[in-house]
């Protein structure tokens, strides 16, 4: 039977990949396995590689089991669940030497089973389910649950944990619970009887998931919007951002509906397009509500005109860009960090915007809240740049927590009484020297009224074509942007900060980089690492760039957009920066980072990097 045994240290450290056909209900089986491992106290992360399609195309789900808690894509496959005939050949190829492959042995597939360095495990899933369940659809669904049962036996997951999860999930549908439990049992028993259980790839109980949750970034961002007190959400559906609004609406239906009257403290508007979605957000924010729109690159493209208006008329708004591969429609279900420049300079004319870069779902939650506070404090659009990997995959992060002492920062909004104290209300005057003017909300008082316009206006908000008056306003906007640099979340520094070489990166590169830093250190490369969390870049970013001889800029796009932003917006000399770029649409891996850093620094670089 088995050819090469995998190294014995694959305990709590391996990758399972599920090759499925989309639309067959495999997601619940895959999640079930992931949650069961998580509940065994062993850290996991799930990555979904799905097509831009509803039914019939291949889809993969990857569970990385990592005792050390690494959140990056594993980059290798130790156990493949080959459930899709169409992709079988390539799925077989992807298994790492010494790994395992399980397939549905109801039908023979001899010609393709050509690898001798892996162990092939057959289980007659279709046959088992046809014998035990009725109905075509039901049999297909149960096949998935059945392999989850077999898998539990193979990697030694406590069956009680799996049972508990199924019972919880179908608490309100006992019939479904019974069927699922039966399917689990079928797979589990078959595997125990006919397959070499447990495999050397094993889950052994740990206590490393306590205080953590498995959550995706879009759900976390939606919770951020809920807790920030957002009341108006407008959007036009687009992958991978749609689930953010779905989640927000779901939470609102749970927490924002008066149980006695059924009255709702929110409005969710499904716009006719992204032009309208951002218009609604601008209108609602102008009128004093916290409003937001989630979208992805193509949506940002459409929003450009309004974003410029909001910038110049100084209307707060919060925009989530869950980035996906571009250009154009690109690969809608693959990940990238490719909208940095698009968002930083969105719209015509001299515009620059505040950007926030969450690295994981935990930060999607906290930075969503920060985005509303910053947008209102600065009276300007704020972009939260997440990506498909963060937004749609389940990450293990510390439980989201809330401080009830939080109160929204509504910024400089004058009440009728405050306006009454003034000789005259002037919308665009810099009274405090921070470049941020005072605003009033519609409905306040006749004295508080002003006219919001995208056309040339002076400090009072009145129409102007006078050069000096126009320039006074746009120069103040520059000062306001400088203030923004002091208010955006500070970057995170890893390392002592005085090493000659540093890595600078952002967002979802964080997991792979942290993992790589460990490996690099073992190989003798000691580097500092700065993760920027906001734009405009603050003094800490300038200091990091100035304080390192060489800075490796790691990002997930082809054109080195972060590096471009750094050269444009900081004093760093271009030659100091070296780009490491990953843009194939799959999440970055630690291996890629390690290899690229080693290649960039070379053997001499090891000494340079280490010399402190």
């Amino acid at each position: 039977m088995p050819a090469t045994q995998p190294a014995p240290d694959r305990l709590n450290d391996f990758v399972i990949k599920f090759a499925n056909v989309n639309g067959t209900g495999s997601a619940s089986a895959n999640t079930l396995i992931m949650k069961a491992i998580f509940r065994s106290g062993v850290p996991v992360v799930g990555k979904n590689y799905f097509p831009s399609n509803i039914q019939g195309l291949p889809t993969w789900y990857e569970i990385r089991v990592s005792a050390d808690g690494h959140q990056a894509r594993g980059g290798r496959v130790d156990l493949m669940l080959a459930m899709n005939i169409e992709t079988y050949a390539r799925d077989v190829k992807e298994v790492a030497p010494g790994g395992f492959l399980m397939y549905d042995s109801t039908w023979p597939r001899s010609a393709l089973l050509e690898r001798h360095d892996i162990t092939v495990l057959g289980i007659p899933l279709a046959k088992l389910c046809n014998e035990n369940f009725d109905g075509v659809r039901n049999r297909v669904l149960m096949k998935n649950i059945c392999y989850a049962g077999a898998l539990a036996a193979l990697v030694d997951i406590d069956l009680e944990i799996v049972r508990a999860l199924v019972t919880e999930q179908y608490a309100k549908k006992p019939k479904l619970a019974d069927a699922n439990l039966k399917a689990i049992e079928l797979g589990y028993r078959y595997a125990r009887e006919y397959l070499p259980c447990p495999l050397p790839l094993r889950v052994r109980r740990l206590d490393r998931t306590a205080g953590h949750v498995l959550i995706d970034g879009n759900t976390a961002a939606a919770l951020g919007c809920l807790y920030a007190g957002a009341t108006v959400g407008a959007w036009y559906p687009i992958t991978p951002s749609t689930s953010l609004m779905d989640a927000f609406r779901g939470f609102c239906e749970r927490y924002r509906v008066d149980p006695a009257t059924g009255e709702r403290n929110f409005v969710v508007l499904q716009a006719e397009d992204e032009l309208a979605a951002i218009g609604m957000v601008v209108g609602a924010s102008w009128n004093g509500a916290r409003a937001f729109t989630p979208t992805s690159g193509p949506g940002i493209s459409l929003m450009n005109e309004f974003v410029g208006l909001a910038y110049y008329a100084e209307v707060p708004c919060v925009i989530f860009d869950v980035q996906r591969v571009g250009p154009s429609t690109g690969m809608p279900t693959r990940t990238q960090q490719c909208d940095l420049l698009l968002c930083a300079y969105a719209s015509h004319g001299d515009t620059r915007h505040v950007l926030l870069f969450p690295a994981d779902p935990g930060e999607c939650f906290t930075l969503a809240v920060a985005a509303f506070d910053l947008a209102e404090r600065l009276q300007t659009p704020v972009f939260v740049l997440s990506d498909l990997d963060i937004g749609m995959n389940d990450w293990m992060v510390p439980e989201l927590a809330w401080d009830d002492a939080y109160r929204p920062d509504r910024g400089k909004v004058l009440s009728a009484a405050e306006v009454e104290q003034l000789e005259k209300f002037q919308r665009y005057v810099d009274r405090d020297g921070d470049g941020i003017p005072y605003r009033t909300l519609p409905g306040t008082s006749p004295k508080a009224a002003y006219f919001t316009r995208g056309s040339g206006h002076n400090q009072s908000g009145a129409y102007t074509e006078d050069s000096a008056e126009y320039q006074q306003v746009v120069d103040r906007l520059t000062r306001k942007f400088a203030t923004a640099a002091t208010l955006v979340p500070k970057p995170v520094l890893e390392g002592p900060g005085n090493r000659p070489v540093g890595i600078l990166s952002l967002g979802s590169c964080d997991g792979p980089i942290r993992e790589a830093l460990g490996e690099l250190a073992r190989r003798g490369y000691a580097l500092d690492y700065l993760r920027v969390r906001g734009f405009p870049f603050g003094a800490e970013v300038e200091a990091f760039l100035a304080g390192h001889e060489r800075v490796l800029v790691i990002e997930q796009n082809r054109d080195a957009q972060l590096k471009s932003l750094l050269t444009l917006e900081t004093a760093v000399p271009k030659h100091k920066l070296h780009s490491i770029l990953h843009y194939d649409g799959l999440p970055l891996t630690a291996q890629f980072v390690t290899d690229a850093v080693v290649a960039a620094l070379g053997a001499g670089g090891r000494r340079a990097a280490a010399a402190v």
Binding site: L226, F266, L269, A289, A291, D404
Partner: protein, 352 residues
């Protein structure tokens, strides 16, 4: 050039409304439109309508897109906040603003280019959402601000100033609104203040989306012979099917008309609109009949004006459909919006 502020000299003899305000207090900045532009007459009618309604100036929110017509929101009620948005996108601003605060009175002013060319989609969807607002289209058949190109409302055969005839069929905002189920649809003429003012007042009091298409000639680019949107052509071919009188809440209906000749529609706030049918066969409550009537009259070369269709729009109005709380969302205290730390702690169980 900066905007021109009008000197506000209050004359003691000027009539005052219920709030003690004169018409002057409903005016705005000095118009910078061409002398004789229809849009200025609409501005004057809006001032009159707001004054007559005794609307508190800050209770109004003025919204517009881009164009000569869209500039006019600066020329009335300077005590109200205004928003001059981007070209063709005022409906989305209005929708968002209305979502945030359901209490204000939203008046959008737009042009035929702004609403029917670049902004056709947003207009249509604002109607579908039944946003509670008055939407005025100052319709002149051309793009005034960009110097006279045909807009989407130009009639077939109408001639440009240079003599070219338009060949593409027009988008009629009235038919569009009827198709999309609007519950208040009217057409008027900038030169007919007597007709326009009560329509504006009724539109502001209507619960739901109210559209008034106002023929508003562009004296500079579309007032020549051969144009179907000139003053002369409009006076000759635009005829009222229904006349409307607006009766404020507390007032009595003064004159009685014979049964069948007049109908009284009660608005959401208790005010009433008395409709006098000039064509006995016309029924403004019947949307399908209204559509048919307009088409038939148009075939005879006639444009129907007046309150063409009115129905109860309150049930499908955006907030009614959403069941939004009565407190404007921008005033709901934060304490009622945050589920709190304990709830989040409980929710986390779902993700374990």
């Amino acid at each position: 050039m900066t905007s021109i502020v009008k000197p506000r000299i209050a004359h003691p003899a000027l009539p005052k409304n219920e709030l003690g305000l004169t018409r002057r207090q409903y005016e705005g900045a000095m118009s910078t439109l061409c002398a004789g532009c229809g849009h200025d007459s609409v501005t004057a009618a809006i001032v009159e309508a707001c004054w007559g309604l005794s609307l508190r100036p800050e209770q109004l929110a003025k919204l517009s897109g881009i164009g000569c017509s869209s500039k006019t929101t600066a020329y009335f009620v300077s005590g109200a906040h205004g928003f001059n948005a981007v070209h063709g996108r005022m409906p989305s601003i209005a929708t968002g603003a209305n979502a945030a605060n359901r209490e204000l009175c939203y008046v959008g002013v737009s042009g035929d280019g702004d609403s029917l060319s670049i902004g056709l989609g947003q207009l249509a969807h604002a109607i579908r959402r039944n946003v509670n607002m008055l939407y005025v289209i100052e319709n002149n058949g051309v793009y005034g601000l960009t110097k006279g190109q045909f807009s989407a409302s130009a009639d077939v055969g109408t001639k440009s100033k240079r003599g070219e005839a338009n060949t593409q069929p027009p988008v009629d905002p009235v038919l569009l609104a009827l198709t999309l189920g609007a519950t208040f649809v009217a057409r008027s003429f900038s030169g007919d203040k007597r007709q326009l003012v009560p329509l504006l007042q009724a539109g502001m009091r209507h619960q739901g989306f109210a559209l008034i298409d106002v023929l508003s000639p562009c004296v500079t680019f579309n007032d020549h012979e051969g144009s179907t949107k000139s003053y002369a052509f409009t006076r000759e071919h635009y005829h009222a099917a229904v006349e409307a009188d607006f009766i404020a809440r507390a007032r009595e209906i003064a004159v009685d008309y014979a049964e069948g000749e007049s109908t009284v529609v009660t608005m959401h706030d208790g005010s009433r609109v008395r409709l006098r049918k000039l064509d006995p066969g016309y029924d403004p409550s019947d949307r399908v009949a209204a559509y048919d009537y307009i088409e038939r009259k148009f075939a005879d070369g006639e444009y129907v004006t007046g309150l063409i269709h009115v129905a109860d729009g309150s049930a499908s109005e955006l907030h009614a459909a959403n069941r939004t709380t009565a407190t404007p969302l921008n005033r709901v205290p934060y304490e009622r919006l945050s589920p709190g730390a304990a709830a989040l702690g409980k929710l986390m169980a779902r993700y374990r």
